[in-house]
Symmetry: C2
């Protein structure tokens, strides 16, 4: 896409100024430092207090409960390195561009989340017969699509029990920062970030599928407004590289001094990453990268590629594929909401 | 400015996705949590290591020195709460809009910076006769204005000695995050952020004024390219409010339920804040806010205003003035680089 073709509106800029991506040189960290992890906040960061915080667990359960932060911390805990990506990552590269948070490629991060596993909590509460979904409610509230709402998302009972979902209260070994859901958030490994409700206040077991705005209207793949569409769920595979060399300030185009190691990370919510390929001709020809370590089964895997760069102009690309048979497309696939655009990254480079 | 009038380019969006502002509801914190403080990085976050880090102190000094992080930490330290703002804050509200990082209003934050005061270090090194400036060099490198460079800025000897400048190695009680200059950065209280060089590698005492790109070309107030222009230095006064009520997701317009307390913070690098006024009619009439506490002499001061809101549509504004006689203008003052636009904040609000 030419820069000429892009004209972001004030509304989109306001969102971009609030909700930041991860600068791609931060791909060098297997665990993203706080402040570099991407952030998407629908409304405002709510004012929350640890001491008075509680989560109501109710609906179709035999034993409803009120969980304080303290009570949650007394439970068995688990720490999981999880790669999380916004479902809208890549939106600003679609043409025509769906108007919302204008992500380019950077809406990702990997954190060590510690919290209480959700499954045992639900088992103790006793999920009653007829239960089909679990609804999670956050403390952030605002208006969207003409509807006043708190942020809410549901998961099917099966998806909850199949997952390693946590009620997380630590990020990278410290209490959650306000912007990441202090004091408690849901973290659902492998799923796009919209699932991992922040500032969690309620967990309700439902006998009917949740029909709220963020479930039935937002976060669905469709071509036209009147379609029901397919709900977004797990992250499609994506690989990203640390842009090599050094940048020009404004254009961010890269200047590279000669042969160098390209490095990056790749992830998928559908399975293991089984391959990453690199191209230096804009995706016409590909060569395999070497896969490296991962901080955990729900986190990205590192990759490297030795690039024997000769002087000239190049467009570097990388693409990942997973064990479920998904591979990144070379061209974006358009949809109305601008979701799940996992087309390959393109990095213009001049080798001097 | 109408949203119709704004059309941000891909280059600007790329910068906005990297360099984030402070979501304005974070004005509620007197010290900005890590990850919410604004960030402006000219090139890439460099890869830095604490163990091998050293700062060369040289040029016109009697006793040149190499300072390791460890040696720096053994020196007397000071912790200062400092409000820091990007010189380009407000740029995207200028018309025509200078093309660079498209800040709206959020390029600010207040942190507790701990480090070794710079003055005593220079005194020990012995500033030689003929010295006029001190040059600070960061480890971040790239191309800007056609020039390959490391980020460098200078201060006059007098400005250094008059200031409470620190070589900071802690932010809010923890080691600097990579994106804020790990392991050591300069912090110059009261000045726009371009002065506080991150990832500091060299301090050179100069016999001539520094004539580098970031001093003579960037960060100057001018109307045309061929002007010499006035260098930017201390922050002009600005006040910002926590947008009241709740937002609409896309437009960020606020819905307010009735009378409420407006609150915000104000700062100036030229003197104490002596007054903040609030308007609910777009700046036609003003009423004084009540000033509150400040975490320190170099940090913002809180303010509150009881707004007896009746149902209807409003444009809320706030403006600050300082003890040096500076007051925020109601309309922006244009300049080529888009710097120091401290025109009053405007917050469209619907009271229901």
């Amino acid at each position: 896409m030419d820069s000429k073709d892009l004209s972001i509106s004030l509304e989109e800029l306001q969102l971009a100024a609030r909700n930041h991506g991860m600068p791609l040189e931060a791909l060098r960290y297997s665990i993203t430092p706080v402040g570099l992890h991407y952030l998407l906040i629908h409304y405002d960061i709510p004012l929350t207090e640890a001491e008075s915080w509680s989560i109501e667990l109710g609906g179709l359960v035999d034993r409803p409960a009120t969980l304080s932060l303290e009570a949650l911390k007394l439970r068995d805990s688990e720490e999981l390195p999880v790669t999380m990506e916004c479902a809208g990552n890549g939106r600003a590269r679609l043409d025509p561009r769906p108007v919302s948070q204008p992500w380019l490629l950077e809406a990702v991060g990997t954190a060590r989340w510690r919290g209480a596993p959700l499954g045992p909590l639900l088992e103790e509460a006793g999920v009653a017969g007829g239960a089909v979904e679990v609804l999670f409610t956050g403390a952030d509230s605002g208006r969207e699509g003409g509807i006043d709402q708190q942020y809410q998302r549901s998961l099917s009972i099966d998806d909850v029990l199949d997952s390693d979902a946590l009620l997380a209260y630590e990020m990278n070994g410290a209490p959650l920062p306000p912007q990441h859901g202090f004091p408690v958030r849901l973290v659902v490994p492998g799923w796009y970030g919209m699932t991992s409700v922040k500032w969690l206040t309620r967990i309700d077991v439902l006998g009917e599928p949740f029909a709220g705005y963020q479930q039935l209207h937002s976060y669905r793949l469709r071509q036209q407004e009147d379609e029901e569409g397919d709900p977004l769920s797990r992250m499609l595979p994506r690989s990203l590289m640390v842009p090599p060399g050094r940048p020009e300030f404004l254009t961010r185009e890269r200047i590279v001094d000669g042969p160098c190691a390209l490095e990056g990370r790749a992830w998928s919510g559908h399975g293991e990453i089984v391959g990453v390929d690199v191209s230096d001709d804009g995706g016409q020809s590909w060569a395999p990268a070497e896969l490296g370590d991962s901080p955990g089964r729900w986190a990205w895997v590192g990759w490297t590629y030795r690039w024997d760069a000769e002087p000239g102009s190049y467009e570097l690309c990388c693409r990942a594929r997973d064990s479920a048979g998904n591979e990144q497309p070379v061209e974006p696939l358009w949809n109305l909401g601008g979701y799940a655009n996992n087309a390959v990254q393109r990095v213009p480079v001049t080798v001097v």
